[in-house]
Symmetry: none
Subunit: 245 residues, 2 copies
Amino acid sequence: MSQSPGQDLGGGPSTSALVLVIEDETAIRRFLHAGLESEGYRSVEATTGQEGISQAATCSPDVILLDLGLPDMDGLTVVRRIREWSQTPIVVLTAREQESDKVQALDSGADDYVTKPFSMPELLARMRVVLRHRARVESETETVIVRGTLRIDLARRRVTVEGATVTLTPLEYRLLATLARHAGRVLTHKVLLQEVWGPSYTSQHHYLRVYMAQLRIKLEVDPGRPRLLMTETGVGYRLVEEAEG
Amino acid sequence: MSQSPGQDLGGGPSTSALVLVIEDETAIRRFLHAGLESEGYRSVEATTGQEGISQAATCSPDVILLDLGLPDMDGLTVVRRIREWSQTPIVVLTAREQESDKVQALDSGADDYVTKPFSMPELLARMRVVLRHRARVESETETVIVRGTLRIDLARRRVTVEGATVTLTPLEYRLLATLARHAGRVLTHKVLLQEVWGPSYTSQHHYLRVYMAQLRIKLEVDPGRPRLLMTETGVGYRLVEEAEG
DNA sequence: CGACGGTATCAAGATTCCATCAAGAGCCTC
DNA sequence: GAGGCTCTTGATGGAATCTTGATACCGTCG
């Protein structure tokens, strides 16, 4: 069952998986680099969260190894930022062994959590797991969604209406981004609450109402008659599939 | 990004995820059962590998928790046997912390590996990870049923007649979706009521009549002479197998 | 023909769900 | 600590949906 990084799904000549390593400590970075190389993976490195996020966008890696303890920004934020537009598997790599850290990272969108000191064989095995998931679902979500005058750029985290930038609060943006990532489909109240607020808020339907209203005020031409953010009574909400006339 | 025990696109009254627990030690089984129940998961239990494998086949769980140290057979074998025909996520649960065990289990097809003593919150978080993978796969599988001018897109929860979207109430949709999932077959009153309204409504035949009439008004060309939603007098209802001329 | 079991249709409460306004709490900046 | 922004929470009216009862239909059988 074990699967080599050089797995070739009928593509080009040498398609070894590309690993993005986001890690500030040089020693560990070298260690990882050596281990990955010996298994035939190609790797790209970043030493800050900012750099990591932009690398994730530009070099479209097959898997991301992320140290939570970066100097410039919170690791969880890095996970969430990447998840806003990318489904690339993320394996978190950290010295923190606290249960709450693990839960938070996993709920933020990480696919696995390995605590230092970790063993390279185990890390590699866990990478194979997330890679074989990915092999099954090779889907690239588009990063720019346009619906009429509304434009959502998930990678740049920018929302414009008729060309003018709309400033959204963090929660407003997350809600909109979640809907945008699944544009055209209904997302249930529960799913939305869980993705935007977290697993323990699944019954706070009220939050959704307030924030959907807020988004409509900022995005819709006539907030009373939404044409973009539709409500599916008793089920949830939906961002329209196509711009309508 | 996390996924709750109950993602529900109108599939039924209360669809919480089903967890198969394969564990021989009673104490741990109880502990797991309690933890799962408090999060709203339903669970099924097996105490041997054999039993576990057959349960995995019969009750089609959403995720499997598997103890590697079963009395009757090797845990790895259980993983492999299940993987021969099923993609259901498997989280391995064991006292063995040896690196080689982990690697073997993961490479055999397990999706995660948690060592005892484990914390329930962490286990639940890891379950959410594998469940949301699964949810993504499922939501991207297109299931579209076409009968003449009627088109039912189960993934998008969208119904159109001659291209025009028909707005259905939650109950209307659930009823239609249930019929559509078993298209061609007769569903008895009892089954329909149970799937759509819940187990305690199996005698409310009246509801069915009202809602079938409603669906026919919205979907049929001539509601008085149904060509799609057929009545099987004394038995139940049926969505026609093929579009008829 | 008339009764009967099962079915279809209609419409009016009852209930649930949704949009909106607004005030208070928490947090960060200055 | 003042001010601004954001998030949480409560209250309210209104819309959509569900439930329920009354009534008409339709074929079968006595």
